[in-house]
Amino acid sequence: MEGEATKGVLSVLSRLEMQARSRKAKPPQQQNSVKELKSTIDALITQRDQLKAQIETQMCVQKLRAAMDKQGAHEADEEMDDGSENSKLLRLMARHAQLKDLLHAHHLIGGYDIVKTCQGKGVCVSLATGYEGVYLDTYNLEIDLKETLRIGRHNIPPFIPVNSLAEQSNMQTDIRAFLGALSQHLNAFAGRKQQVKLVKELHKSVEVLETNALCSILVLLLTVPREKIAVLCTLDYADHTRCLPTRVCIECEDKELPGSPHWKNNITLLKETPVHKALITMKKMGYIV
């Protein structure tokens, strides 16, 4: 019992002592806790201001974007009256946002996509190719943005004349024209290559005698069903930006077959429709096996 009582007295004494000490210490504590609160308040205020500013700029940018999209980029600039510093900045930001969305949209429809590299000193363009809804290879091209635009590393095969394309569509000034032409060449090449692949897969009876790396020449061996005569059909894709041949010629032992009307419209058919589809119709019409 003794223990509890004394324990009781001692604990009470120590508690009282604690309270006395804490009361003495509180005033300074109180002061610095007050100071702390003040500083948090200031921080919060600055944060609120920043957020407000951001909202404002966003609103302006949205307004400008809407104006820009309606009348196209150029007129919108004159319409903004106050030439103050931040309005120029706002207009720039709006323009930047617009371009970004444009590029994203362009990429979605299978166009090319651009991404910044090595801390802004270079740009990497990725050109996706596709044919009849099927995505094929994606080619990449790095361009260095020093004083003059220079083509760096790329994985475009050598039979696509990248450098001459760059000169023809003077890349330095009009890069969109250059990328457009390049994308066209690459898509046409991918399309032609896909066609040759489909011909080999779908038409076992048709023999592909010759093609080349650029798929700009296609020589097919067709057989006329009844008389089993062999017909040599050469398709020449001189225009490398399109998937359709520019010249089709037919050779055969009996001379007048190429002249016959059926084969004439076969030639026009081959000129207008992709070769694997043309062969299907010719098979259906019974001209070839």
Partner: protein
Amino acid sequence: MDDSTKRLLQQLVRRIPTQMLKTTLEKWGRLTTEQQKSLDFTQPKWVLTENLLAFCEENGWTTKHITELEMIYVTDSPNQGMWYAFQLLDPEDDAPSVELTQFKEQFKIHLTELIRHVSIKIKKHTDEAVWIRIAWGDSFSRPNHLKPTYVVHHLQTPYVFMSSVTRKQKPLLSQALVLATRYTAIKDAHLSGRKLTAIRDVVMKQYQQVFPTKYPSPLLEQNQTASNPLIKREQAESSENRHQMACEAFGYGMVPQLQTAVYKLETKFRGITNKTMTERGEPIRCVVKFTSTNLLESFRNCASSGIASTPVTPLLSSITQKGRNFFVITDNGRGPS
């Protein structure tokens, strides 16, 4: 069946490894079925040679037939001897529409104009490339079939690959090629190697390259073992970064197997310590040669393991970028390319 054909057949059979001999002969198809069966490929090479010489007698094969057999063998295993790449320059406007038959005729006409005694055999192989075998003779001797030159060309591409060709024959061959492909000039591409497929892939960029993309997927490190949760790499990010830059410079996954790269340096010495050497006027001339069974893979490991500092110096990355493995480097940038 004169003895030159016999010697050619002997040399050829000695050259073809036994395991390939059976398939090559079958592809050649000039042996009758029972002759083909009677050949026992487990016997030593000289026994097989004797049998084939006997068949040669029987079937009356000529040198032409033997060269056909050789061509089948060479096109099937192109990685023999050294191959040199050449680049065709500024095409005429009808160059893109050159056709195989047209190329064949033009090449034969032009080469025989330049040198009368030459035997040319041209074949389109399954890899869409035009293979040319040239046996050179000079003004009064018949073509020597024992040391032919092989030329490989993909139509409509600005590149031609040649096996060993002597200094005398090279201008003739180049001239004929330029005229046949409707280009105006040809120059040494400074790319050579033992594997034709390798130098062709480097030049045609037929290997996987890595490019910065908007949605970077982490490249799989080759030795990416299933990482145990207890083991953590502190500097994982920087090693991944090094690996990314290494793959950007030397390609990802299977890379063309070049064997060597040679740099002729004539550059001033710039040492931080000794001054006399730095002020010395003339440059230091030295030749640096890198050799490995798979050069690009070795360089890639150098860069990703940190032995070569990243980003990779343009000297090394221009092997893949420019498709070259011989460089002359002087103080004012690249030497005469």
